[in-house]
Subunit: 274 residues, 2 copies
């Protein structure tokens, strides 16, 4: 059983459709390639009660990791840390290490002759107000520290919503931990594309190949229509080593390829990635 | 209080980061522009228990509408209708109207001299197996009908995950209903972009403008970094008529523009959309 992850994205801009949630896709892809499984992705708005509720619900499901993005900045609508604190029944307090991280950033900005002063205004101190017993994680490319919180068996990480900041912190502070937690589990995937055969005709054939290959998950993605069928078949598996994972996928892929051709379908250029 | 919506997206491809969830953004944007409010977006995998759980949780929160995408096709991994049935304690049964919709599609495909026959195989009949007391909605561009279900005060719609099918059905069968439910509520938004002023400096200024303009929500989106600050300020509101909504936003936008300039910031080309 792979270690499980839930992703929570906070931000009204996602709920009004202003912003495409590329953060969730990027994180889900990293989690998968590190050998863990994302069970759920949830988006809620900039509202302390909504944030608190979703965190309580998520923690209750007891995933190994919770990755939260958005709502760590200096403005009134950045409410993630207050929401986490409320959910876990902790107070919010100025964290000395976090304050030092924030202070250093503004000293650097001032020293580099920007027009701003290094003064720790309330809006800046806000970014260092963490739930009790939280640990700040350095933000290599932005100002607001990320936050790590252990709650019972659940490890919660809160990351900024600005994509370069989110990615940098994930790669630096979280990916190594997850890789360790995955303890060697490897994910492998491959795809083939077919034309000239309808998805409804392929349905029982996919069932058969999956029965023969119980470790491999095969999912069909219709790209055209049933009338002008163009289907991507995506194969994925996890195993304790890469060779096993690759062999499992390749066997299923060969079997399905043959059956597609026997049923009058044409295989277009196969696409394989690790 | 605007009518509320939740969006549920079903599909392993979203959880492994293979597919970017453009469906959720598109639906959220339509919902907003129709005058309703999306409270939450959730993604779960192709698993009956997961689907059933999230539907029970969602229905329990009693939104006016639930929009579900994905999992209506002919293959084994299309489990949305079974998941809905399980969540609501209903059986799944072949719906005569749905079967007729599916049958007509395959008759048309066969008549148009495609290589497929019109036979209603089990995989094709599967697309007409709906929860009891559900209503199929025609799919103008694909095969699987969409499904409408009334559960207590919650109106549930299940749509295919293939974007052109999802959009076509939404526009034809759901948007008119939602527009009616919104009963005249209008959403209006506008943005301005500033440079040369840090988000942390703007935080108390945004607070002040929002206090003066209680109907307008102002959200800052840092696009650069605190060091090379480039911020988008997004203004949004809903009102019972468009002129009021527009006036509310424009007043807040003018006030913030002036304060950004007083604080040394530069306004870049304003962007206004309806």
């Amino acid at each position: 059983m792979n270690k499980s992850v839930e992703i929570l994205c906070i931000g009204n801009e996602l709920l009004i459709g202003k912003t495409l949630n590329t953060n969730a896709q990027w994180l889900a892809k990293q989690v998968t390639s590190l050998g863990l499984t994302t069970n759920r992705i949830t988006v809620v708005g900039d509202n302390i009660n909504e944030i608190s509720c979703i965190i309580q619900e998520t923690v209750h499901r007891s995933p190994h990791f919770v990755l939260i993005t958005g709502g760590l900045g200096p403005t009134f609508d950045d409410k993630t840390l207050e929401g986490i604190a409320k959910a876990l029944g902790r107070n919010v307090e100025v964290n000395k290490d976090a304050l030092e991280m924030v202070r250093e950033k503004y000293v650097t900005y001032a020293a580099e002759d920007r027009m701003e002063e290094a003064e720790l205004t309330p809006a800046r101190v806000k970014m260092a107000k963490l739930p009790e017993q939280a640990t700040p994680l350095p933000n290599p490319v932005g100002t607001a520290p990320a936050v790590s919180i252990q709650h019972k068996n659940v490890k919660i990480f809160a990351l900024p919503g600005v994509p370069p900041e989110m990615k940098s912190i994930f790669n630096t502070s979280i990916a190594p931990l997850m890789k360790h937690a995955a303890s060697g589990v490897t994910f492998f995937e491959a795809s083939i594309n077919s034309t000239n055969v309808m998805e409804s005709k392929m349905a029982p054939i996919i069932d058969k190949v999956m029965q023969n290959n119980p470790h491999v998950y095969i999912k069909s993605h219709p790209k055209g229509t049933e009338r002008l069928p163009h289907i991507e078949f995506h194969f994925s598996t996890t195993a304790n080593d890469e060779i096993t994972a690759r062999n499992h996928v390749n066997k299923a892929l060969s079997e399905l390829t043959e059956l597609i051709q026997q049923n009058g379908g044409t295989i277009k250029s196969p696409k394989t990635k690790t």
